[in-house]
Protein backbone atom coordinates (compact mmCIF):
# COMPACT_ATOMS: atom_id res chain seq x y z
CA UNK A 1 0.00 0.00 0.00
CA UNK A 2 2.78 2.32 1.03
CA UNK A 3 4.67 1.55 -2.18
CA UNK A 4 1.63 2.47 -4.29
CA UNK A 5 1.31 5.71 -2.37
CA UNK A 6 4.98 6.60 -2.99
CA UNK A 7 4.69 5.55 -6.63
CA UNK A 8 1.61 7.75 -7.02
CA UNK A 9 3.45 10.71 -5.55
CA UNK A 10 6.40 10.10 -7.87
CA UNK A 11 4.12 9.95 -10.92
CA UNK A 12 2.46 13.23 -9.94
CA UNK A 13 5.87 14.86 -9.35
CA UNK A 14 7.30 13.78 -12.70
CA UNK A 15 4.18 14.73 -14.65
CA UNK A 16 4.40 18.21 -13.10
CA UNK A 17 8.05 18.48 -14.12
CA UNK A 18 7.24 17.32 -17.66
CA UNK A 19 4.32 19.73 -17.83
CA UNK A 20 6.55 22.57 -16.70
CA UNK A 21 9.16 21.63 -19.30
CA UNK A 22 6.62 21.40 -22.10
CA UNK A 23 5.36 24.87 -21.09
CA UNK A 24 8.75 26.23 -21.95
CA UNK A 25 8.97 24.05 -25.07
CA UNK A 26 5.73 25.23 -26.59
CA UNK A 27 5.72 28.76 -25.26
CA UNK A 28 6.13 31.69 -27.59
CA UNK A 29 6.37 35.04 -25.89
CA UNK A 30 4.73 37.33 -28.36
CA UNK A 31 6.36 40.76 -28.65
CA UNK A 32 3.04 42.42 -29.51
CA UNK A 33 1.51 41.20 -26.26
CA UNK A 34 4.47 42.52 -24.30
CA UNK A 35 4.09 45.93 -25.92
CA UNK A 36 0.43 46.22 -24.96
CA UNK A 37 0.89 46.60 -21.21
CA UNK A 38 0.68 50.04 -19.66
CA UNK A 39 4.00 50.07 -17.85
CA UNK A 40 3.84 51.87 -14.55
CA UNK A 41 0.08 51.19 -14.36
CA UNK A 42 -0.64 47.59 -15.38
CA UNK A 43 -0.75 45.03 -12.59
CA UNK A 44 0.86 41.63 -12.32
CA UNK A 45 -2.49 39.82 -12.77
CA UNK A 46 -2.49 41.02 -16.38
CA UNK A 47 0.87 39.35 -16.92
CA UNK A 48 -0.37 36.17 -15.29
CA UNK A 49 -3.46 36.18 -17.49
CA UNK A 50 -1.43 36.51 -20.67
CA UNK A 51 1.64 34.46 -19.98
CA UNK A 52 0.81 32.30 -16.97
CA UNK A 53 3.19 31.86 -14.08
CA UNK A 54 6.78 33.01 -14.61
CA UNK A 55 9.51 30.40 -14.77
CA UNK A 56 11.46 32.27 -12.15
CA UNK A 57 10.97 35.15 -9.75
CA UNK A 58 14.11 36.86 -8.49
CA UNK A 59 14.17 39.42 -5.70
CA UNK A 60 16.34 42.41 -6.56
CA UNK A 61 19.36 42.98 -4.34
CA UNK A 62 20.41 46.41 -5.55
CA UNK A 63 19.72 48.80 -2.66
CA UNK A 64 17.76 51.36 -4.69
CA UNK A 65 15.62 48.62 -6.21
CA UNK A 66 14.85 46.39 -3.26
CA UNK A 67 11.17 45.57 -3.04
CA UNK A 68 11.15 44.88 -6.77
CA UNK A 69 11.15 41.52 -8.47
CA UNK A 70 12.33 40.22 -11.80
CA UNK A 71 9.78 37.86 -13.37
CA UNK A 72 11.38 35.70 -16.01
CA UNK A 73 9.74 33.83 -18.88
CA UNK A 74 11.79 31.38 -20.88
CA UNK A 75 11.52 29.87 -24.32
CA UNK A 76 13.29 27.03 -26.06
CA UNK A 77 15.13 27.57 -29.30
CA UNK A 78 17.47 25.19 -31.12
CA UNK A 79 17.14 22.77 -28.25
CA UNK A 80 18.27 25.29 -25.68
CA UNK A 81 16.21 27.04 -23.07
CA UNK A 82 16.82 30.75 -22.74
CA UNK A 83 15.32 33.70 -20.94
CA UNK A 84 13.12 35.51 -23.42
CA UNK A 85 11.34 38.08 -21.31
CA UNK A 86 11.99 39.81 -18.01
CA UNK A 87 9.52 42.00 -16.16
CA UNK A 88 10.40 44.40 -13.39
CA UNK A 89 7.61 44.23 -10.87
CA UNK A 90 6.97 46.31 -7.75
CA UNK A 91 6.15 43.59 -5.26
CA UNK A 92 4.13 45.77 -2.91
CA UNK A 93 1.91 47.58 -5.40
CA UNK A 94 2.00 44.72 -7.95
CA UNK A 95 2.63 47.31 -10.63
CA UNK A 96 4.56 46.22 -13.71
CA UNK A 97 7.39 48.74 -13.95
CA UNK A 98 9.11 47.61 -17.15
CA UNK A 99 9.88 44.71 -19.45
CA UNK A 100 12.87 43.64 -21.51
CA UNK A 101 12.49 41.22 -24.42
CA UNK A 102 15.63 39.42 -25.50
CA UNK A 103 16.21 39.22 -29.27
CA UNK A 104 17.63 36.11 -30.95
CA UNK A 105 18.90 35.41 -34.43
CA UNK A 106 15.90 34.50 -36.61
CA UNK A 107 13.50 36.83 -34.81
CA UNK A 108 11.65 39.26 -37.07
CA UNK A 109 13.14 42.16 -35.14
CA UNK A 110 16.74 40.95 -35.31
CA UNK A 111 17.64 43.70 -37.77
CA UNK A 112 17.37 47.34 -36.74
CA UNK A 113 15.16 48.34 -39.68
CA UNK A 114 12.70 45.60 -38.91
CA UNK A 115 12.13 47.17 -35.47
CA UNK A 116 11.23 50.42 -37.17
CA UNK A 117 8.71 48.53 -39.31
CA UNK A 118 7.37 46.60 -36.33
CA UNK A 119 6.69 49.71 -34.26
CA UNK A 120 5.31 51.88 -37.03
CA UNK A 121 3.93 54.53 -34.70
CA UNK A 122 7.16 55.07 -32.84
CA UNK A 123 9.40 58.04 -33.56
CA UNK A 124 12.80 56.83 -32.56
CA UNK A 125 15.72 59.00 -31.60
CA UNK A 126 19.13 57.47 -31.21
CA UNK A 127 22.23 57.92 -29.11
CA UNK A 128 25.46 56.08 -28.59
CA UNK A 129 25.61 54.27 -25.31
CA UNK A 130 28.89 56.06 -24.67
CA UNK A 131 30.82 55.95 -21.43
CA UNK A 132 29.81 52.76 -19.63
CA UNK A 133 32.78 52.67 -17.27
CA UNK A 134 35.76 54.85 -16.47
CA UNK A 135 37.82 53.29 -19.22
CA UNK A 136 35.40 52.30 -21.95
CA UNK A 137 33.17 54.00 -24.50
CA UNK A 138 30.59 51.67 -25.97
CA UNK A 139 29.51 52.09 -29.58
CA UNK A 140 26.23 50.24 -28.97
CA UNK A 141 23.33 52.34 -30.14
CA UNK A 142 20.21 53.04 -28.11
CA UNK A 143 17.05 53.85 -30.04
CA UNK A 144 14.24 55.27 -27.99
CA UNK A 145 10.83 56.87 -28.13
CA UNK A 146 10.41 58.50 -24.74
CA UNK A 147 6.71 59.23 -25.31
CA UNK A 148 5.99 55.55 -25.79
CA UNK A 149 8.51 54.41 -23.17
CA UNK A 150 10.01 52.19 -25.83
CA UNK A 151 13.71 51.57 -26.46
CA UNK A 152 16.00 49.03 -28.03
CA UNK A 153 19.70 48.30 -28.06
CA UNK A 154 21.74 47.69 -31.21
CA UNK A 155 25.10 45.93 -30.85
CA UNK A 156 27.93 48.16 -32.01
CA UNK A 157 29.89 45.35 -33.61
CA UNK A 158 27.20 43.22 -35.26
CA UNK A 159 24.69 46.05 -35.84
CA UNK A 160 21.93 43.68 -34.81
CA UNK A 161 19.26 44.20 -32.16
CA UNK A 162 20.12 42.87 -28.71
CA UNK A 163 16.91 43.56 -26.80
CA UNK A 164 13.77 45.69 -26.72
CA UNK A 165 12.50 47.37 -23.57
CA UNK A 166 9.20 48.84 -22.47
CA UNK A 167 8.61 51.17 -19.57
CA UNK A 168 6.45 54.14 -18.59
CA UNK A 169 6.89 57.16 -20.88
CA UNK A 170 9.62 59.47 -19.63
CA UNK A 171 10.56 63.09 -20.13
CA UNK A 172 13.42 63.33 -22.55
Amino acid sequence: MKIFYILGLLIIFFSCTILKQSDVDSRKIDLTSVSQFKYGLSKTNEILQLFGNPDQIIALKKAELTGNENWIYSERKDGQEFERLGFLVDKKSEVVVSATWSVRIGDTVYEKNSVFSYFKNAKFESKKRGLVSQDYFSDDLIYFDSKLGLSFLVNGASKTVNSISFEAPWKN
Binding site: I58, L60, K61, K62, E64, L65, N70, I72, F82, E83, L85, G86, F87, L88, V97, S98, A99, T100, S102, V103, R104, I105, K127, R129, L131, V132, S133, Q134, D135, Y136, F137, S138, D139, D140, I142, F144, S151, L153, N155, G156, A157, S158, T160, N162, S163, S165, E167, W170
Partner: protein
Protein backbone atom coordinates in the same frame (compact mmCIF):
# COMPACT_ATOMS: atom_id res chain seq x y z
CA UNK B 1 91.00 79.10 -17.16
CA UNK B 2 89.77 79.74 -20.69
CA UNK B 3 91.93 76.88 -22.04
CA UNK B 4 90.57 74.62 -19.35
CA UNK B 5 86.98 75.42 -20.26
CA UNK B 6 87.68 74.95 -23.99
CA UNK B 7 89.24 71.54 -23.37
CA UNK B 8 86.33 70.43 -21.17
CA UNK B 9 83.79 71.61 -23.75
CA UNK B 10 85.66 69.87 -26.59
CA UNK B 11 85.83 66.64 -24.62
CA UNK B 12 82.11 66.81 -23.87
CA UNK B 13 81.25 67.39 -27.55
CA UNK B 14 83.53 64.58 -28.70
CA UNK B 15 82.07 62.15 -26.15
CA UNK B 16 78.54 63.02 -27.23
CA UNK B 17 79.45 62.71 -30.94
CA UNK B 18 81.20 59.36 -30.57
CA UNK B 19 78.50 57.85 -28.35
CA UNK B 20 75.91 58.67 -31.03
CA UNK B 21 78.05 57.39 -33.87
CA UNK B 22 78.83 54.22 -31.96
CA UNK B 23 75.19 53.64 -31.07
CA UNK B 24 74.17 54.14 -34.68
CA UNK B 25 76.98 51.90 -35.80
CA UNK B 26 75.83 49.28 -33.34
CA UNK B 27 72.26 49.52 -34.61
CA UNK B 28 73.45 49.41 -38.20
CA UNK B 29 75.67 46.42 -37.64
CA UNK B 30 72.82 44.11 -36.73
CA UNK B 31 70.02 45.83 -38.54
CA UNK B 32 69.67 42.84 -40.83
CA UNK B 33 67.76 40.36 -38.76
CA UNK B 34 66.94 36.95 -40.15
CA UNK B 35 63.42 35.97 -41.18
CA UNK B 36 61.18 35.51 -38.18
CA UNK B 37 63.05 38.18 -36.21
CA UNK B 38 62.64 41.91 -35.80
CA UNK B 39 65.13 44.58 -34.95
CA UNK B 40 65.01 46.32 -31.58
CA UNK B 41 66.87 49.63 -31.32
CA UNK B 42 69.15 50.28 -28.38
CA UNK B 43 67.16 51.92 -25.60
CA UNK B 44 67.02 52.59 -21.90
CA UNK B 45 64.41 50.40 -20.23
CA UNK B 46 62.85 51.57 -17.00
CA UNK B 47 62.08 49.07 -14.25
CA UNK B 48 58.75 47.33 -14.69
CA UNK B 49 56.55 44.46 -13.55
CA UNK B 50 56.49 41.34 -15.67
CA UNK B 51 53.35 39.50 -16.68
CA UNK B 52 53.92 36.97 -13.89
CA UNK B 53 54.35 39.75 -11.33
CA UNK B 54 58.15 39.67 -10.96
CA UNK B 55 60.04 42.95 -10.92
CA UNK B 56 62.53 43.70 -13.66
CA UNK B 57 65.24 46.28 -12.97
CA UNK B 58 66.04 49.15 -15.26
CA UNK B 59 68.75 48.53 -17.84
CA UNK B 60 70.37 49.76 -21.02
CA UNK B 61 69.10 47.42 -23.69
CA UNK B 62 71.52 46.95 -26.57
CA UNK B 63 70.25 46.89 -30.13
CA UNK B 64 69.40 43.34 -30.99
CA UNK B 65 67.39 41.02 -33.18
CA UNK B 66 64.43 39.54 -31.38
CA UNK B 67 62.49 36.47 -32.35
CA UNK B 68 58.94 37.37 -33.49
CA UNK B 69 56.20 36.08 -31.29
CA UNK B 70 53.20 34.48 -33.02
CA UNK B 71 51.25 37.70 -32.72
CA UNK B 72 54.09 40.06 -33.64
CA UNK B 73 53.46 40.67 -37.33
CA UNK B 74 49.73 41.21 -37.12
CA UNK B 75 49.94 43.43 -34.04
CA UNK B 76 53.02 45.47 -34.82
CA UNK B 77 51.20 47.18 -37.66
CA UNK B 78 48.33 48.15 -35.39
CA UNK B 79 50.55 50.21 -33.13
CA UNK B 80 50.01 53.69 -34.41
CA UNK B 81 51.17 57.08 -33.27
CA UNK B 82 47.92 58.96 -33.46
CA UNK B 83 44.35 58.11 -32.53
CA UNK B 84 42.05 57.39 -35.44
CA UNK B 85 39.31 59.76 -36.49
CA UNK B 86 36.85 57.50 -34.72
CA UNK B 87 38.41 58.05 -31.29
CA UNK B 88 35.91 60.15 -29.40
CA UNK B 89 38.21 61.90 -26.94
CA UNK B 90 39.99 63.92 -29.57
CA UNK B 91 41.21 66.45 -27.02
CA UNK B 92 43.43 63.83 -25.35
CA UNK B 93 47.02 64.58 -26.24
CA UNK B 94 48.80 62.03 -28.45
CA UNK B 95 52.34 60.94 -27.66
CA UNK B 96 55.06 59.30 -29.69
CA UNK B 97 55.81 55.70 -28.74
CA UNK B 98 59.25 55.13 -27.34
CA UNK B 99 61.18 52.05 -28.42
CA UNK B 100 60.84 50.70 -24.90
CA UNK B 101 57.06 51.16 -24.75
CA UNK B 102 56.44 49.65 -28.14
CA UNK B 103 58.62 46.71 -27.31
CA UNK B 104 56.89 46.11 -24.01
CA UNK B 105 53.43 46.21 -25.58
CA UNK B 106 54.47 43.64 -28.15
CA UNK B 107 56.05 41.47 -25.46
CA UNK B 108 52.84 41.64 -23.43
CA UNK B 109 50.86 40.34 -26.38
CA UNK B 110 53.02 37.25 -26.57
CA UNK B 111 52.08 36.41 -22.98
CA UNK B 112 48.33 36.60 -23.57
CA UNK B 113 46.14 33.72 -24.77
CA UNK B 114 45.18 33.88 -28.48
CA UNK B 115 41.45 33.97 -27.66
CA UNK B 116 41.80 37.45 -26.21
CA UNK B 117 43.84 38.82 -29.13
CA UNK B 118 40.79 39.68 -31.12
CA UNK B 119 41.38 40.66 -34.73
CA UNK B 120 38.80 43.41 -34.47
CA UNK B 121 41.23 45.65 -32.56
CA UNK B 122 42.33 47.94 -35.34
CA UNK B 123 44.63 50.35 -33.56
CA UNK B 124 46.66 50.76 -30.40
CA UNK B 125 47.95 54.20 -29.72
CA UNK B 126 49.69 56.27 -27.11
CA UNK B 127 48.09 59.17 -25.29
CA UNK B 128 49.37 61.27 -22.43
CA UNK B 129 46.59 61.21 -19.88
CA UNK B 130 42.96 60.20 -19.59
CA UNK B 131 40.56 63.13 -19.49
CA UNK B 132 37.79 60.95 -18.05
CA UNK B 133 39.63 59.57 -15.06
CA UNK B 134 43.22 60.61 -14.49
CA UNK B 135 44.10 57.28 -12.85
CA UNK B 136 43.31 55.32 -16.02
CA UNK B 137 46.38 53.49 -17.33
CA UNK B 138 44.51 52.70 -20.55
CA UNK B 139 41.12 53.06 -22.18
CA UNK B 140 39.16 51.58 -25.02
CA UNK B 141 36.59 52.37 -27.63
CA UNK B 142 35.20 50.20 -30.41
CA UNK B 143 38.21 48.38 -31.87
CA UNK B 144 40.75 50.82 -30.43
CA UNK B 145 42.93 50.90 -27.33
CA UNK B 146 44.92 53.79 -25.92
CA UNK B 147 47.72 53.52 -23.41
CA UNK B 148 48.37 56.45 -21.10
CA UNK B 149 51.62 57.35 -19.30
CA UNK B 150 50.50 55.49 -16.19
CA UNK B 151 50.49 52.14 -18.00
CA UNK B 152 54.28 52.26 -18.17
CA UNK B 153 54.77 53.09 -14.51
CA UNK B 154 57.20 50.93 -12.51
CA UNK B 155 54.43 49.26 -10.51
CA UNK B 156 52.01 48.56 -13.32
CA UNK B 157 51.58 45.17 -14.97
CA UNK B 158 51.19 46.19 -18.59
CA UNK B 159 50.01 42.75 -19.72
CA UNK B 160 47.23 42.85 -17.16
CA UNK B 161 46.16 46.33 -18.25
CA UNK B 162 46.21 45.17 -21.86
CA UNK B 163 44.17 42.05 -21.05
CA UNK B 164 41.47 44.20 -19.45
CA UNK B 165 41.17 46.49 -22.46
CA UNK B 166 41.20 43.59 -24.91
CA UNK B 167 38.45 41.92 -22.91
CA UNK B 168 36.17 44.90 -23.60
CA UNK B 169 36.59 44.16 -27.30
CA UNK B 170 36.01 40.44 -26.75
CA UNK B 171 32.72 41.30 -25.02
CA UNK B 172 31.78 43.64 -27.87
CA UNK B 173 32.20 40.79 -30.33
CA UNK B 174 30.08 38.26 -28.41
CA UNK B 175 26.82 37.20 -30.03
CA UNK B 176 23.46 37.82 -28.38
CA UNK B 177 23.40 34.20 -27.23
CA UNK B 178 26.88 34.43 -25.69
CA UNK B 179 26.13 37.73 -23.99
CA UNK B 180 22.97 36.19 -22.63
CA UNK B 181 24.83 33.16 -21.32
CA UNK B 182 27.38 35.41 -19.63
CA UNK B 183 24.58 37.58 -18.22
CA UNK B 184 23.01 34.56 -16.57
CA UNK B 185 26.29 33.25 -15.21
CA UNK B 186 27.13 36.67 -13.81
CA UNK B 187 23.65 37.23 -12.35
CA UNK B 188 22.68 40.28 -14.36
CA UNK B 189 18.91 40.36 -14.70
CA UNK B 190 17.02 40.48 -17.97
CA UNK B 191 15.50 43.85 -17.25
CA UNK B 192 16.66 47.35 -18.00
CA UNK B 193 17.56 49.50 -15.04
CA UNK B 194 14.80 52.15 -14.86
CA UNK B 195 17.14 54.46 -12.97
CA UNK B 196 19.49 54.79 -15.92
CA UNK B 197 17.11 54.51 -18.79
CA UNK B 198 19.27 56.21 -21.44
CA UNK B 199 22.27 54.04 -20.59
CA UNK B 200 20.27 50.92 -21.40
CA UNK B 201 22.00 48.98 -18.66
CA UNK B 202 20.59 45.80 -17.20
CA UNK B 203 20.41 45.27 -13.44
CA UNK B 204 23.29 43.51 -11.65
CA UNK B 205 22.06 41.16 -8.93
CA UNK B 206 25.11 39.68 -7.26
CA UNK B 207 25.87 40.40 -3.62
CA UNK B 208 28.06 43.49 -3.36
CA UNK B 209 31.05 41.42 -2.22
CA UNK B 210 30.78 39.09 -5.23
CA UNK B 211 32.59 41.46 -7.60
CA UNK B 212 36.34 41.36 -8.09
CA UNK B 213 36.41 45.14 -8.54
CA UNK B 214 34.19 47.92 -7.24
CA UNK B 215 33.28 49.18 -10.69
CA UNK B 216 31.88 45.79 -11.74
CA UNK B 217 28.23 46.72 -11.23
CA UNK B 218 28.61 49.81 -13.46
CA UNK B 219 28.11 47.87 -16.66
CA UNK B 220 28.17 44.33 -17.98
CA UNK B 221 31.18 45.06 -20.20
CA UNK B 222 33.20 46.37 -17.24
CA UNK B 223 32.17 43.38 -15.13
CA UNK B 224 33.16 41.06 -17.99
CA UNK B 225 36.56 42.74 -18.45
CA UNK B 226 37.30 42.66 -14.73
CA UNK B 227 36.40 38.99 -14.60
CA UNK B 228 38.54 38.07 -17.61
CA UNK B 229 41.42 40.05 -16.10
CA UNK B 230 41.08 38.19 -12.80
CA UNK B 231 40.65 34.83 -14.50
CA UNK B 232 44.03 35.36 -16.12
CA UNK B 233 45.90 37.03 -13.27
CA UNK B 234 44.12 36.14 -10.01
CA UNK B 235 41.98 33.10 -10.81
CA UNK B 236 41.61 32.09 -7.16
CA UNK B 237 40.03 35.45 -6.32
CA UNK B 238 37.55 35.16 -9.17
CA UNK B 239 36.70 31.58 -8.31
CA UNK B 240 36.05 32.58 -4.71
CA UNK B 241 34.05 35.71 -5.47
CA UNK B 242 31.93 34.47 -8.31
CA UNK B 243 32.42 30.78 -9.14
CA UNK B 244 29.67 30.73 -11.77
CA UNK B 245 31.53 33.31 -13.83
CA UNK B 246 34.82 31.49 -13.34
CA UNK B 247 33.23 28.30 -14.67
CA UNK B 248 31.61 30.12 -17.57
CA UNK B 249 34.94 31.62 -18.69
CA UNK B 250 36.66 28.26 -18.31
CA UNK B 251 34.00 26.52 -20.37
CA UNK B 252 33.82 29.26 -22.99
CA UNK B 253 37.54 29.76 -23.59
CA UNK B 254 38.89 26.35 -22.66
CA UNK B 255 41.74 25.08 -20.53
CA UNK B 256 44.40 26.88 -22.56
CA UNK B 257 42.98 30.27 -21.67
CA UNK B 258 45.78 31.47 -19.42
CA UNK B 259 48.79 33.73 -19.49
CA UNK B 260 52.20 32.36 -20.48
CA UNK B 261 53.85 32.90 -17.14
CA UNK B 262 57.30 34.43 -17.01
CA UNK B 263 58.01 34.24 -20.69
CA UNK B 264 58.48 37.93 -21.12
CA UNK B 265 61.59 37.91 -23.24
Amino acid sequence: MRICLTITFSLFISAFFYSNVLAKGNNKKINKCSAGEHFVNAHYRKSYIRTDGTKVSSANVKAHCQLNSKSYLSWNERISSNPSNLWLRKHEKAKKWTEEEKNRVLESLSDLPPAILTGSVRAIFRLEKSTIYDQNPAAGEAGEIAFYDLAFGPKENLTRIFAHELAHEVYRQLSNVEKDQYRKAADWLLVKNPQATLLYELIPNRDSDAYVANDGPESMTEDFSNNIEYFLFEPETLQKKTPKVYNWIKEKFGDTFSITKGTNK
